[in-house]
Amino acid sequence: MVFLVVVAVYFLIPVVWLLIASTKTQAELQSTGIFSLPKRLELLQNIRLLFAYNNGVFARWFLNSIIYSGSVAILTCLVSAMAGYALAKFDFRGREVLFYVILASMMIPGTVATIPLFVIEQPLHLVNTYLGVILPLIASPFGVYFLRIYIRDVVPNEMLEAAKVDGAPERTIFWRIVLPVIRPAIVTLLLISFIGTWNNFFLPLVLLHNQSLYPLPVGVDVLLSLIATPAADQSMPIYQLVITASLLSILPMIIGFILFRKQIVTGLTQGSVKL
């Protein structure tokens, strides 16, 4: 029991520190102990400074993160559901081979493809665009694998055949029968790919070079780097900007995570236990 509490404290320390630190002024941060409470709560002032920084570019990063994560999550679900459905319920030549190729591609380090991805995207004019970041993330081998298993196990063949006998076109079957049945799995995948995209750093770092297109992690990295940049305006409380930006970037994720934990856990375990 003591052990469990100690470990819990370990997992909470950084977050608690972030909460405390974001309520301090920069002077207090540098002069007081790391867990000592400030005399006056400066959180609102810090947030105000953050949103004032560089004409409110932080709000833009936040919005970008929502755009990237939201569209990747929705499109991944759609594309993976289609592919998963085809792999689960259609017999075609090379189906097994294809499935194993997809499975194997999960083993390739994601960042290995990122540099060449950059090269592929340049003639397509996708470098430094929203689409350039979104499209590669939609092709999710995990999503396809996960939904293929789910559809195979959950969607009854009789139901599909009955629909076919009634003369329903494939498209209708997919939208009206398959999707509703696999809704729980879709919700899970939606959440997982939303989190995954929100957390992604390397891909947008490589593909984007315009601050107004950055998602939060890449943007906050810019802020962080100001600490060691004398040419930056050192009269700004840079530490406070970074700390407050970090807090605002992870808060929605933590709240969402607590609300939707059940769906995420089932999804992760169903997807992985069977691997």
Binding site: Q30, N55, H125, V127, Q211, S225, A228, T229, P230, A231
Partner: protein
């Protein structure tokens, strides 16, 4: 201009960046059917613009400019008064390595390339070798005599010119006169004196360091070599001579290693939070810096300037009487090959760095809305604000006292290689090992030499040693 930290950064003058960024996505606006005509006509009609022999420009051009100089928009405003046909969009793409990473990205992407880009001297050969820069000699070669000689060598290969020098950083020794008075120290004029005083000072006040060694700054380390008369790289195009582990270089780093080992000098990452704290606390009696050191390091990080009373002095000499100096920091406005308006870009780059109207702005302190630069164009030395007493340095007119005199002493033979980032990383790693006692300085430099030669050869360069 110089950026301390290797990895990243975005700079000061943040105002209006968003609007500018939006416009900075490319130079795609407008058709370019007239561009080639302008190029041909350009070299013919030279006029005097604000006392500078530059081509007239009758066509219309829109330029994108990446820069991290403080208050750069002001430079644009001044320029546009003299050349109303040329519109310039300033983009803040970060400082130093951050900007280079983005610049490499857009070059390889083939889109979003700026017309004019701010580069430090040490990366010029790399971008010349990658074919990213444009020869602008037809429009600017007449300006050569207006710049500090070594700077022009570093922006040109033979008769080709790839950019206009902006500012430099002749090196000097900064010292806290308060501490020097307290302990009755003399400002060292030779490195052996520096060494001796460092060891003495450490005994007098063990809570402080005599100086610090920037273990994360290859550019600074090469500044030390430059000042000692080392010429690690020589060549152009495909043919290079590499000589990093010369006896002189071993001597330079051995001295620092000895002082670090004795505890008289701290080996630390300049720019790191700990270093910032130490600067603010006045923990270093001296600092090996250069002309911009007060405005870019002391003013931002030392909030006790009036107590510490920093002053600048000549860099100590290796051989008494040999006044050779090196350079640390300094940059260029380079014109890119991708520009549709090479002539307009060349005019812009030349004008902002050499026209008297611009120089007056360039040399004014950054906090007063100026550029805070030590100009590469020698005309800048005659500007009244350049000569004024410097409030950050105990009201010493340091430019007149020290740096104006150091500038012509900078060794003109020194060259950078096309692999600077690689060289810096190797040097920092190996010097780190040497300073922690894992290998000798000689071994460390030999390893750097070997690694650099191997890398350069693997990239198809013809390397001699």
């Amino acid at each position: 201009m110089k950026k301390l930290h290797k990895k990243t950064a975005v700079v000061g003058s943040m105002t209006g960046v968003l609007a500018v960024l939006a416009a900075g996505c490319g130079t795609s606006s407008g058709q370019t059917s007239t561009a080639t005509n302008q190029t041909a006509a350009g070299s013919a009609s030279v006029k005097m613009v604000d006392g500078l022999p530059l081509p007239q420009y009758n066509g219309k051009a829109t330029l994108t400019w990446w820069s991290w100089v403080p208050n750069a928009q002001k430079e644009v405003d001044i320029f546009e008064k003299y050349y109303p046909n040329i519109k310039v969009h300033l983009v803040d793409a970060g400082a130093g390595a951050t900007e280079y990473q983005k610049f490499s990205t857009v070059i390889q992407a083939g889109s979003g390339i700026p017309d004019v880009v701010m580069l430090e001297f040490d990366v010029m050969p790399e971008y010349i070798a990658t074919g990213a820069l444009q020869d602008i000699s037809p429009w600017v070669s007449q300006l050569k005599s207006r710049f500090t000689p070594w700077t022009w060598n570093q922006v040109s290969v033979g008769s080709h010119v790839y950019g206009i020098p902006e500012d430099t950083g002749p090196m000097g020794l900064f010292y806290q006169s308060s501490l020097f008075n307290k302990y009755h120290l003399k400002v060292p004029t030779t490195w052996s004196q520096f060494q001796q005083e460092a060891l003495e000072f450490h005994k007098l006040d063990p809570s402080k360091y005599f100086s610090y060694f920037s273990n994360n700054d290859g550019q600074w380390m090469f500044g030390l070599l430059w000042q000692a008369g080392c010429v690690p790289f020589q060549g152009s195009g495909n043919n290079w001579k590499v000589d990093i582990d010369s006896p002189k270089a071993v001597q330079v780093f051995s001295m620092w290693q000895k002082l670090v080992k004795a505890g008289a000098v701290q080996s630390i990452a300049a720019g790191s939070p700990e270093w910032q704290k130490n600067i603010n606390a006045g923990l270093y009696a001296t600092a090996v810096g250069s002309a911009w050191y007060d405005s870019e390091i002391l003013v931002p990080y030392d909030h006790n300037l009036s107590v510490h009373k920093w002053r600048a002095a000549f860099i100590p000499e290796w051989t008494p009487g040999d006044t050779m100096d090196g350079d640390w920091g300094g940059s260029v406005q380079a014109v890119t090959k991708a520009t549709k308006y090479p002539e307009a870009a060349a005019i812009f780059a030349a004008f902002i760095n050499a026209a008297p109207a611009e120089l007056a702005h360039d040399v004014a302190p950054a906090k007063d809305g100026g550029g805070g630069l030590f100009p590469a164009a020698t005309a800048g030395f005659d500007i009244p604000s350049f000569k004024q007493p410097n409030p950050a340095l105990d009201n010493q007119p340091a430019n007149v006292d020290v740096f104006e005199k150091e500038s012509p002493r900078v060794n003109t033979k020194f060259q950078w290689s096309p692999w600077s980032s690689y060289v810096f990383n190797e040097l920092q790693t190996e010097i780190g090992k040497a300073f922690s006692g894992k290998e000798s300085v000689q071994q460390a430099l030999a390893n750097v030499q070997q690694a650099v030669v191997n890398y350069a050869r693997s990239q198809g360069y013809n390397v001699t040693t």
